[in-house]
């Protein structure tokens, strides 16, 4: 759809969405673009189409790279969540304070006429 005067009139209509500041890419879009970029780079280098041959050791190393990265990310995720779980604060003082407040609140409100 046309985005209005912000878009230079010389640009073809189908590009106006990408350029308009309001049509920022969704996160999904960003991921797909990123994966497409990395994926094609990997395919180009590791699968070795004719005309772009790296020495064999490099190709062999690159081939399983996606799987390695996935596993690495999995380990990172587990480690991070585990660490955050272990360091999740238990707010004892806050709970105690709240209990005190509740006692004071009930007493005060009763004094002021609240019938619970």
């Amino acid at each position: 759809s046309v985005r209005g005067p912000r878009v230079a009139p010389v640009l073809p209509l189908r590009f106006s969405r990408a350029i308009s500041p309001q049509a920022a890419m969704t996160k999904l879009g960003q991921w797909l673009c990123g994966l497409a970029l990395l994926g094609s780079a990997w395919a180009a280098l590791a699968l070795a189409p004719p005309g772009l041959r790296l020495p064999a050791p490099y190709r062999e190393a690159l081939l399983p790279l996606p799987v390695y990265l996935l596993v690495a990310f999995g380990c990172y995720s587990l480690a991070t969540v585990g660490y955050r779980l272990a360091t999740f604060n238990d707010c004892e003082e806050a709970a105690a304070e709240l209990r005190e407040h509740i006692k004071a609140a009930r007493a005060d409100l009763r004094r002021r006429g609240l019938r619970l």
Partner: protein, 240 residues
């Protein structure tokens, strides 16, 4: 609009069956505001609770004054946080809006200080940073919380550490703008607000809060909740 230097805080409290918690929350809020010398009002938006929440709210109105406690009732079919806030905002006279659940009220004053410090558009409570935290949670609940938050951070990169927290302060204009743009329901709505706020370039400050488990009433974290969270997260991933 409030005059410069005369900030007024409107607290929106959507309630459903909060008969026991409501007076405590109101008392805590009123005391915090009075201690910090801020002008305030508390807007209670009740969804026709059958347990007498409305009656309690009316009593509180008598105790604190009808300029401080405003009672609104919605008996609409889809009572989501969204409709409650829209309804509540219509009657809000403050220039700052505080959104919170009626089951937690903690260290409200930190929010004002933080807002003044950085002149933020939004101040959000976080359980995951600083000395923020929880109380009364078992290991399973903590694991699910951390796991869900990790997933959210990876997928949405929201720039805030706690998206599903229930305690936020907004400038009134900022909240109005965000309400126009957000379409989700329930707590996914809260997540969407922060994500959109970042996209629109609003500044977000974070304050550690202690989430003490519900004093009365039950907390819900079943399989259904998890599934709906994932659905909401994926929807946000694909649409924002």
């Amino acid at each position: 609009m409030a005059a410069h230097g005369a900030d007024k805080f409107s607290v929106l409290l959507p309630t459903y069956n909060e008969r026991d918690n409501l007076p405590l929350v109101v008392w805590l809020l009123a005391r915090t505001f009075q201690e910090s010398g801020n002008n305030f009002e508390i807007i209670i938006i009740d969804d026709g609770s059958p347990d007498g929440t409305e009656e309690i709210a009316k009593q509180l109105e008598k105790i604190y004054g009808s300029d401080k406690i405003v009672m609104r009732e919605i008996i609409s079919v889809p009572f989501s946080s969204g409709t409650a806030y829209i309804h509540g905002m219509k009657h809000a006279t403050g220039n700052f809006i505080v959104i919170m659940d009626a089951d937690l009220s903690h260290h409200v004053s930190l929010y004002f200080i933080k807002q003044k410090e950085g002149n933020f558009d939004i101040v959000s409570g976080t359980r995951y940073k600083g000395n923020g935290g929880v109380h009364g949670w078992d290991l399973k609940r903590k694991l699910i919380s951390r796991g869900a938050n990790f997933l959210t951070q990876v997928l949405l990169r929201p720039g805030a550490s706690d998206l599903t927290g229930s305690f936020r302060l907004y400038r009134k204009e900022v909240l109005q703008k965000l309400m126009e743009k957000c379409v989700s329901k329930g707590y996914v709505f809260q997540m969407e607000m922060i994500v959109r706020a970042r996209q629109l370039g609003y500044t977000i400050g974070e304050v550690p809060i202690s989430f003490v488990d519900r004093v009365y009433g039950e907390s819900k974290l079943g399989g259904n909740e998890i599934v709906s969270f994932l659905k909401g997260l994926l929807t946000l991933f694909a649409t924002t």
